[in-house]
């Protein structure tokens, strides 16, 4: 026989029209473990193996370590010892999160992680505790997202928990089965969408029980009806079930027992040690699954295809000693005290290329490459066949897919070599698929290493997902392997997961000093910080749990999200630091959150000092606090300014409040205080403010004196006061103000002119104009008269203007003729005349002519 054939289909065995192969995976490290003394449960997809001392074997020296956890190569990972004296493990299983679920004889459920760390405990009710649990099952619920537990008590009652990780998991009693006074011959849990049902077999009868119902079921026809079902195996995904009866019949069909897929008489009536599905498939359309039956007493495992007829032969494997079988999605694992073997249906892609006599393009390409290696001309002939059929692309694809399904690195290499040989003949080729498979195989081969012990197949990895794999590696603390895999496969979010978990572990376990740990973490992050988003908060929580507060605080420095960092610091009473970080974030809302927390509620001098110092050091926080107080509690703001010797702001705050104090006496008192505060300020401009304040004091005092003569004068400003006095013709009083407040001539004249015109006191205005030469000219007189609609008066003052201003003013007064005259007298420019003319407009020809004549006279 050819060597290559040997590594190809040599060990394939046909079952119906498909092949099964048995692959030796490992020689177990546990060397001759007496497996029959244990219960064995292995997590799917090459997961860890848990061994628990079988309570039935109680008599013979029970070890102190109740449970042992191995990798799938039988290397001991951890042992779990129980503190309690007498714990009997009745049920065992792996949860969907790959935690170990242990059910004891009193119904307590212990959950451990893969490292043997206890995660949770669920206690049973008194009824279960009293009657004791005699059998227990752990099973996936809610479509495989949760984990449930079902127990059978010594009183032959069933109790169920549908989600052991829920907030308050409790056992629910299932309906009793009438006349059940001995242990049922077998039972299986059927997790439905909303409820859980249990199929129970007793005395040749089947019952389907729910919480409030018990439905007798008629066993499917034929041999089964004549004997009770002694073994059941459920396929969760499709809800199909296999039943084995005491008269050696195997029936496979739908779980509602309505549809039959096959019935076989096995010819063996011994109770099988185990029955399980070999391979789970998405649909029964692809009816190529098989049922494995284990008879340890016969040293034999048999595989029955579910589509084969009664007459076809099962595949039979002989075993050496006790074996346990563990179902996988593409086959089953067979664990014995010596070896770990995988039995699987040969994947279709492998059959295509390596199958005996296959004429698929992939097979031809594979052969061509072998010939090419030998230097044989046949290579060319084979290639010609593929090229002629125009199926090179398919050939390459088939070889790549076959490589993916192969578990032997040597075979993978040969297949990939063939693929790459074929690629050379393609005009255009997208390398993505090839690269992807190479990368994945690299990872699969790495984790299959004995030390790691995760012998996943390609399809298992596909189902388990790379993220799932990373989680498992991280749970096993294989960070150094997980990190390169994440990098290699560019797994989004993978790096953060690995690093976060690593850091949490480091914080939890390490006895190093805070500084060393922080350094170790930053060193790891050093190259990746910025593009990796480390979940620092969970690391920090871990540090807090480990009682390392200082470490937690230092670690928080690396939290990039201020909205996490600041509250976390506050929870650890690190308010000053929280403030610093809040300000650095620029998020004023966070700053405010810290302020609220820091603001002293009672008279605690230490806290008050801390708060005040924080405000002093952080102007932004101070600004925010000031604003908050101004909006909600002005008194607090006064106190704040006082404590910080902030005289100027304090004074200004009083200025702002002035309006509320209507009584002049109160106002004066407050103004004096304000003045004092302004004086305390050291900057020179405060003197100006003090002066202005004193002037305000003087003004109010004056107004109080005047109030009897002019009601309503209080509260006015200086200019208004002067204005009002002049309007009321109280000239002496106005003059008094002028002197006291040293009003400039210009200002006083402006105010007086405007006040007089407003009061329409034309005679006084004229008297005033003549009193002396106006320091502000006479234009303001003209404008003020005009504003108060008195052209006649205005004209009087236009005459006093310099000629060049007169023209404009006459025009304002709508006296263009006069304007023209003045323009002529002042030898005005042509432009000036044009302006006058344009104001008249083109229609008024009479006036235009007159102006033009004036203009020409010049």
């Amino acid at each position: 026989m050819d060597l290559e054939v040997d590594e190809g289909c040599g060990n394939w065995e046909p079952l119906g029209d498909v092949f099964y192969e048995k692959i030796e995976v490992y020689d177990m490290d546990w060397v001759d473990k007496m497996l029959k003394n244990y219960k064995l449960e292995m997590a799917p997809c090459g997961g860890p193996i848990a061994l628990a001392w079988d309570s039935r074997q109680l008599t013979r020296g029970q070890p102190r370590k109740l449970i042992e956890i191995y990798n799938s190569a039988g290397i001991l990972l951890n042992e779990i010892a129980t503190k309690h004296e007498r714990i009997l493990v009745v049920g065992l299983g792996w949860s969907t999160e790959e935690n170990l679920v242990v059910v004891t004889d009193i119904g307590s459920i212990y959950v451990y992680d893969i490292n043997g760390v206890s995660l949770s405990l669920v206690s049973a009710n008194a009824e279960i505790q009293d009657s004791r649990v005699i059998e227990a099952r752990v099973f996936p619920t809610y479509g495989g997202t949760r984990t449930g537990v079902a127990v059978l008590t010594g009183a032959y009652r069933f109790f169920v928990i549908s989600d052991i990780a829920s907030d308050n998991p409790t056992y629910h009693k299932m309906n009793d089965i009438p006349g059940l006074d001995n242990p049922p011959s077998s039972w299986a849990v059927l997790p439905q969408d909303r409820s859980i049902e249990i199929l129970v077999s007793n005395n040749a009868k089947l019952y389907l029980i729910e919480r409030d119902r018990c439905t007798p079921k008629y066993a499917p026809r034929m041999h089964l009806s004549s004997g009770s079902v002694i073994e059941m195996a459920l396929l969760n995904k499709t809800l199909d079930i296999a039943l084995f009866s005491e008269n050696g019949a195997l029936w496979v069909g739908s779980a509602d027992l309505q549809t039959t897929y096959c019935e076989v008489d096995t010819g063996i009536t011994n109770r099988p040690s185990q029955m399980c599905w070999c391979g789970t498939y998405d649909s029964m359309v692809e009816m190529s699954a098989a049922i494995a039956l284990v008879w340890n007493s016969e040293n034999m495992v048999r595989l029955y295809g579910i589509t084969v007829t009664d007459h076809s032969e099962p595949i039979e494997y002989l075993t050496d000693g006790e074996v346990f079988v563990v179902p996988e999605m593409d086959g089953l694992r067979m664990i014995s005290s010596k070896t770990h073997e995988l039995i699987r249906r040969v994947p279709a892609s492998l059959v295509e290329v390596l199958g005996m006599g296959s004429l698929q393009p992939g097979a031809v390409l594979f052969d061509a490459q072998k010939e090419f290696n030998k230097g044989s001309h046949k290579a060319n002939e084979y290639m010609q066949v593929i090229v002629e059929k125009n199926s090179m692309e398919l050939a390459v694809k088939q070889c790549i897919n076959a490589a993916a399904c192969s578990t032997s690195p040597k075979q993978q290499k040969n297949l990939l070599r063939a693929a790459s040989y074929g690629k050379g003949f393609l005009a255009y080729d997208n390398p993505d698929h090839f690269v992807e498979i190479c990368k994945t195989l690299r990872v699969l081969n790495e984790i299959r290493m004995f030390r790691i012990g995760i012998p996943m197949t390609y399809s298992q990895l596909h189902q388990f997902t790379v993220m799932g794999l990373i989680k498992r590696l991280v749970a096993m603390k294989l960070y150094c392997l997980a990190l390169p895999i994440v990098d290699h496969l560019r797994l989004e979010g993978g790096k953060e997961l690995v690093l976060s978990q690593w850091a949490m572990d480091k914080v939890r376990q390490s006895r190093d000093t805070d500084e060393e740990i922080v350094n170790a973490i930053t060193r790891k992050l050093g190259s990746s910080l910025g593009d990796v988003f480390l979940n620092i908060s969970s690391v920090v929580n871990e540090a807090k749990k480990a009682g390392r507060k200082e470490l937690a605080i230092s670690l928080l420095d690396f939290e990039p999200r201020s909205s996490e960092q600041v509250p976390a610091l506050m929870r650890m009473n690190q308010n000053a630091k929280a403030m610093e970080k809040a300000i650095a974030s620029g998020d004023m809302d966070l700053v405010h959150t810290v302020l609220v927390a820091m603001e002293p509620k009672e008279r605690d001098s230490g806290k008050i000092r801390e708060f005040n110092n924080t405000l002093k050091d952080n102007p932004q926080a101070k600004a925010l606090y000031t604003k908050w107080c101004a909006q909600t509690d002005v008194q607090k703001l006064h106190t704040h300014y006082e404590t910080h010797d902030n005289y100027r702001d304090s004074a200004l705050l009083y200025v702002q409040e002035l309006d509320h104090n209507t009584l002049p006496e109160a106002k004066l008192k407050l103004l004096e205080d304000i003045d004092k505060l302004f004086r305390k300020g050291t900057i020179s401009r405060d003197n100006l403010e003090s002066q202005l304040t004193l002037e305000q004091v003087a003004l109010i005092k004056r107004q109080v004196g005047l109030n009897s003569k002019v009601t309503g004068i209080t509260g006015m400003n200086l200019n208004e006061t002067v204005d009002l006095l002049i309007q009321r013709a109280l000239f002496a009083e106005a003059e008094g103000l002028r002197k006291e407040f040293k009003l400039s001539d210009r200002k006083f004249w402006w105010l007086k002119v405007r006040a007089l015109t407003k009061a329409r006191n034309w005679s006084e205005l004229e008297k005033f104009a003549k009193s002396k030469k106006s320091p502000i000219g006479y234009k303001p007189f003209v404008d003020a008269c005009l504003e108060n609609n008195n052209k006649a008066e205005a004209v009087k003052y236009v005459e006093k203007l310099p000629r060049e201003q007169q023209v404009d003013s006459y025009m304002d007064l709508d006296m263009p003729e006069k304007a023209g005259e003045i323009a002529r007298l002042s030898r005005g420019s042509e432009e000036l005349f044009e302006r006058i003319l344009s104001q008249i407009g083109p229609q008024n020809t009479v006036l235009r002519d007159r102006i033009n004549s004036i203009r020409n006279n010049s």
């Binding site: 201020s562 405010h592 932004q620 400003n717 208004e720």
Partner: protein, 605 residues
């Protein structure tokens, strides 16, 4: 006309975002809903959503948030009261009074909800707790609405107090909002590779966005940046422009009538061209945006060019109508009828704009021109160290304080501060004429460096900037401008001059080019490349997109100047963002301490 949205910078996505957010929130309340609006939010939301859509989603009525719940709500047994507010303490106070106006048994009949725009603040939550009314609300939600698209090239936070908050009160909340809005833009348009920081608050914003980017993990495939440059401008870089009187068409409408959320209200009597309408409304609200074909072209013109433009448009339109006479054949007539709706729309728009232009011409009285001439002189540095008699007389005449402060501020900025005697003079005169409480006004003006006393070692920068950056230009052509200085009749906004330099095609790191200018600008000013930005792709047309973010406010004149730049440099494309559209008056409104009595005659309305 240049269409900025041509190359993928579509700011309208912000509108879609806010609209779907709002509807999502509203959908949370089952049954009939009544909306109560923070009055300041109504304008912005008008641009985002309209009544029919709200009605479709079960909104039965809308009110302004007020002191009491209208009895209508109870009578009709409407189930939900949704309060939409800005995160301000005074709004919480108002809510407290409002819901306390009905009895607790009545309150139980209604589900109350608060929607904070744009975030739930600790301050407000604390206030609600102090009032012990948190439990009254079924939902307290956030609606993230930062930038509101005003036009295809213009977005604003419309944060009314942004200038005062940042520069007077040192409250940086608004900067955080700026940073957050930039993160949203970057999420859509890619990380902007080149950032130029002008001024302190600009630096703070850059630091925040760098920090925020660290908070989210980098994606494997970053978006190729659609915007190449980001220029962050602290408004204090150029306060002169802010204080100057605008003379562009849109700028003048804003100065004289106030544009709020792209709308302005005018006296209705001015719009009497429509003969069919018997009565004219007291006031008329006009939407001012680029969907108006006439306004779109007129908005950025110098006002002196608007008359000419409108006349020529009128001629074009009547010529278009005349085509009907010339239309001989049926196909020509059909062609004409096809164009008719467009011509009619243009005609209506033209009528409206002509009326507005007439209103503005009336508003530009002698005093406006005199005042503008004084501004011009001051900007040119004429006698800035002396008391200005024009300003003095304005005070004596008790004219608009805002106008006076604007002029003093211009004098102050042009002189790099006021001489102490002069400062004292103006301050005293204003206190004597307008009231003692203006000590507060001056305190604020000083904090934001609008009016301040010159110090002994004052660095003199304005004259250098004026000459080096060619801010003041003589003989500017207002009707057919060749330089951005037309927007202030001979004064070019420093901001836009800087932006122009910073976006010179070949020197993208424009700041090194501006080395001897930078030292005269408020610090810090620097350029930086953002880490991990995807490499930009050369566009076939060689266009370079720049996002300009004015922190503290922006004027319409600056927007016009930037549009002018883009029009005259085919490879420059600008998108403008700001915290608030402002002019000198609206800016000072937030700063001038209001008097308890109405002593300031309001010339502005």
């Amino acid at each position: 006309m240049n269409d900025y949205s041509s190359d993928g910078i579509k700011v309208s996505f912000l509108r879609e975002l806010a609209r779907s957010d709002l509807l999502d929130h509203i959908k949370l309340c089952e049954g009939s809903k009544v909306l109560f609006w923070d009055p300041a939010l109504k304008g912005p939301f008008n641009l985002i959503i309209d009544w029919p859509i709200l009605k479709k989603h079960g909104v039965v009525k809308m009110f302004d948030l007020q002191e009491h719940i209208p009895s209508e709500v109870l009578e009709n047994k409407w189930q939900n009261v949704v309060l939409l507010i800005r995160p301000e303490v005074k709004m919480i106070d108002l809510i407290y009074r409002s819901i306390r106006s009905i009895s607790s048994s009545q309150r139980r009949e209604i589900d109350f909800h608060i929607i904070f725009v744009s975030r739930k603040s600790t301050m407000c939550m604390r206030r609600l707790e102090e009032y012990k009314i948190v439990g009254e609300f079924k939902n307290i939600l956030e609606l993230e609405l930062d930038l509101i698209p005003f036009d295809h090239d213009l977005m604003t936070l419309e944060n009314p107090a942004s200038f005062k908050d940042i520069f007077v009160e040192q409250d940086d909340s608004c900067l955080f909002q700026v940073a957050r809005s930039l993160m949203t833009l970057q999420a859509f348009f890619g990380v902007i590779p080149n950032v130029t920081v002008l001024g302190e608050s600009a630096k703070k914003v850059l630091e925040m966005i760098e920090r925020m980017r660290q908070e989210v993990p980098a994606t494997d495939k970053p978006i190729v940046p659609k915007i190449e440059n980001l220029i962050l401008i602290d408004r204090r870089i150029d306060l002169m422009t802010m204080m100057s009187s605008q003379v562009t068409y849109e700028g003048l409408i804003d100065e004289l009538y106030g544009i709020k959320n792209t709308q302005a209200t005018f006296p209705g009597a001015a719009f009497q061209y429509d003969e069919d309408v018997q009565e004219t409304a007291a006031s008329k609200m006009v939407a001012l945006n680029s969907s108006d074909p006439i306004f779109k072209e007129a908005r950025d013109l110098h006002f002196n060019a608007v008359g000419l433009f409108l006349t020529s448009k009128a001629r074009q339109i009547s010529a278009a109508y005349d085509e009907k006479k010339d239309a001989k054949s049926l196909s020509q007539l059909k062609n004409f009828v096809g164009k008719l709706p467009h011509i009619q729309a243009e005609k209506r728009a033209l009528e409206i704009q002509t009326s507005i232009a007439a209103l503005i011409r009336k508003g530009l009285n002698k005093q406006y021109y005199e005042s503008f001439a004084v501004e011009q002189e001051l900007r040119e540095g004429l006698d800035v160290e002396k008391m200005n008699t024009f300003i003095e007389e304005m005070i004596y005449r008790q004219e608009s304080l805002t106008k006076i402060i604007r002029l003093i501020a211009i004098q102050c900025i042009a002189g790099d501060g006021l001489r102490p005697k002069l400062y004292e003079f103006y301050k005293r005169e204003i206190v004597q004429a307008y009231g003692y409480h203006h000590l507060l006004t001056f305190d604020r003006l000083e904090k934001c460096k609008l009016i301040y006393m010159q110090e002994k070692n004052q660095v003199i920068s304005y004259p250098t900037l004026r000459s080096k950056m060619k801010l003041c230009i003589d003989n500017v052509n207002e009707k057919d401008p060749t330089d951005i200085s037309y927007v202030f009749s001979g004064y070019a906004p420093l901001t836009v001059r800087l932006i122009n330099w910073l976006t010179q095609g070949s020197q993208r790191d424009g700041l090194t080019y501006l080395d001897d200018i930078v030292k005269y600008l408020p610090k810090p000013c620097f350029g930086k490349k953002q880490k991990n930005a995807a490499t930009t792709q050369e566009r076939s047309d060689g266009e370079i997109h720049t996002l300009v973010y004015f922190i503290g406010g922006c004027t319409y004149a600056e927007v016009s100047a930037l549009r002018f730049l883009a029009q005259n440099h085919p490879n420059k494309q600008f998108t403008i963002a700001t915290t608030k559209m402002l002019n000198g008056n609206t800016l000072l409104d937030s700063i001038v301490e209001p008097s308890p009595r109405d002593i300031i005659p309001d010339f502005l309305t």
